[in-house]
């Protein structure tokens, strides 16, 4: 309704708006076997996560070395909310800088990928080399003795904000922290799952970005959750690619931050438990057949029989091997209720055409249109809607037991999710 032009000024209440009372948050007494729903919905929590997690003591995935193959190659991406540029310098070294001019904060790189000789700000022509050092500022000496930067101005003091960079098997990670342990130490035993798959030079096959209208943690929990895989994802069970009755296992690092699961196809073990439970699960439908099952034909390229391996590192990275489909997934939060999931599909540089075609055909199985996994994004969004404002309720995470160790290496366990919340609470100082 339009406000009448003659509205009486007395109707307006003047004076300071009373401050909203600071919400005091208490984690449920049970600890890491519960996650209160406010943690997914509170903008203040989201703001703290940017500082304490994404710009805190964590290594965040930026991309593949193969995406910045030459001197001057760059990739623009994100760590949390922060735009970051990955570059390769003249000496072949990799660098990551905040995508923001040190002068007045303008964005430097506007393309997702490219090839440059230097990083250049269009606003006032400040130039940086590929390592992020300031090399030139336009009119720094002024003109005809007037203007210009102060006499004590030092180029060396005004470089871009540089991040620590480290690589493992062609994956590039960066951190804002000077304290976090070296990358391989941080990954611990989970590094073995990376080395198993990424054993030679890579070749990018393409990208798929999913925008999920849910808090980033609803997705982060998902690939840690081996319990749901064969229940929610009907396609898996129906076509025999992965069933709970197949040989499988799980490995966590020493701090429980990272995890990988594997399943071996063709190792079905009959058991009374499985037959009883599967009768009640909608995912085992022996009548459903594919007309053209060639999409599921895979080659045991790593020679260990593992048909599916899903590896997650805290807080924003997934590496998957689903049959011969290989991809990384980068989780980029975009506000408290939205996240992008960037899938980068790849093969090996020496793949022959038949192998590449197999990987491309199996790309139909995962991602935003993946026949196996479209459900994941749907569940994240349905969870977010069901949490509503997050002021009440909490999730229950006791599958496999109540401790960080309980559940062992069984896939029918939420051990990896308990470990996530344990680390999250510690990093967020949420007692």
């Amino acid at each position: 309704m339009p406000t009448p032009a003659h509205a009486s000024p007395e109707a307006v209440v003047h004076g300071p708006t009373p401050l909203r009372e600071k919400t005091v948050r208490h984690w449920p007494a049970e600890g890491y076997t519960r996650a209160p729903y406010w943690v997914y919905t509170d903008p203040d929590i989201y703001a703290q996560e940017q500082v304490k997690i994404f710009r805190g003591k964590t290594w965040n995935y930026l991309g593949l070395e193969a995406e910045v193959p030459e001197v001057g190659s760059f990739k623009t991406t994100y760590i949390g909310d922060q735009s970051v540029v990955l570059t390769r310098a003249e000496d072949g070294s990799l660098h990551a800088v905040v995508n923001r001019c040190a002068h007045r904060g303008n964005m430097l790189c506007r393309d997702a990928f490219g090839q440059v000789k230097k990083l250049y700000c269009v606003y006032h022509a400040w130039n940086y080399n590929l390592k992020g050092d300031l090399t030139h500022a336009a009119f720094s000496h002024g003109l005809r003795g007037e203007g210009g930067l102060p006499k004590d101005f030092q180029l060396s003091e005004h470089g871009l904000h540089k991040l620590r960079v480290a690589t493992i098997c062609g994956l590039v990670f960066a951190t804002f922290s000077n304290e976090v342990e070296p990358l391989e130490e941080w990954l611990g035993d989970v590094a073995a799952g990376i080395r198993r798959v990424l054993h030679k030079p890579l070749k990018v096959l393409g990208y798929d970005t999913q925008r999920i209208h849910a808090n980033w943690k609803t997705y982060h929990e998902n690939p840690r959750d081996s319990y749901h895989a064969n229940i929610l994802h009907t396609f898996y069970g129906t076509f025999g690619l992965s069933r709970q009755s197949q040989e499988s296992g799980m490995t966590l690092d020493q701090n429980g931050r990272h995890v990988y699961f594997y399943t071996k196809a063709g190792t079905e073990k009959k058991s009374e438990d499985f037959d009883k439970t599967s009768a009640a699960l909608r995912s085992v439908n022996d009548d459903m057949k594919l007309e053209d099952p060639s999409i599921l034909k895979w080659r045991d390229e790593f020679g260990d029989g593992v048909s599916v391996q899903i590896l997650t590192t805290y807080p924003s990275f997934v590496l998957h091997q689903i049959a011969n489909s290989l991809a990384t997934r980068q989780l980029i939060p975009r506000g408290v209720g939205e996240s992008d999931l960037v899938w980068t599909y790849f093969g090996f540089a020496d793949d022959d055409d038949a192998t590449t075609q197999t990987r491309l055909v199996q790309a139909n199985l995962a991602g935003s249109a993946g026949m196996i996994s479209v459900e994941d994004a749907a569940v994240c969004e349905m969870m977010q809607k069901a949490m509503a404002d997050g002021q009440s309720g909490e999730s229950f995470i006791e599958m496999g037991g109540k401790t960080l160790e309980s559940g062992g290496t069984s896939k029918l366990s939420e051990r990896a999710i308990r470990n996530f919340w344990h680390n999250y609470r510690s990093d967020m100082d949420l007692a």
Binding site: D208, T209, T234, G370, M371, A378
Partner: protein, 160 residues
Amino acid sequence: MSAHHEQHFRAVENLIYEWARAIDEDRVEAIAELLQPEGRYTVQSRFNHDRGLPMAIIDARSAAQLRDRIKSMRVANIYEPHHYRHILSGVQIVGEVDGVLQVRSNFLVVRTMSLDGDMAIFSTGQCHDEVLITPEGPRFKKRLFLYDSRIIETLLVIPL
């Protein structure tokens, strides 16, 4: 080019409309009848296409694979119920190679969510189609949907 355009335009335009209408009317299975048995249906981002990257989010390399995908959508996949409305424009036959018509058109798909009624532009882009005139009428030899945004909103389970 213009001779082909004059001769086949109505039939080709109708073929493109038939595909879209089958999806919008929830008769998705019918699109597989419009694709030749050895035909190919691909949905790829312009982001990948422009960079010469081959990966596509949907790549059905036969009508059988397209039917399998539709079957998976019907009986296996979980998603919030929704439907599409295709708005199509700019159909042009731009050439012919060995009897195969090269066709371009624009698509815009509005997605409406069933539960809450939210409506949004879900996808827009250009179709690169190859059409064969067969005794049964025109059929797609290839359909390539190139979508303009590098992102997909939530998921794509109903084919474009």
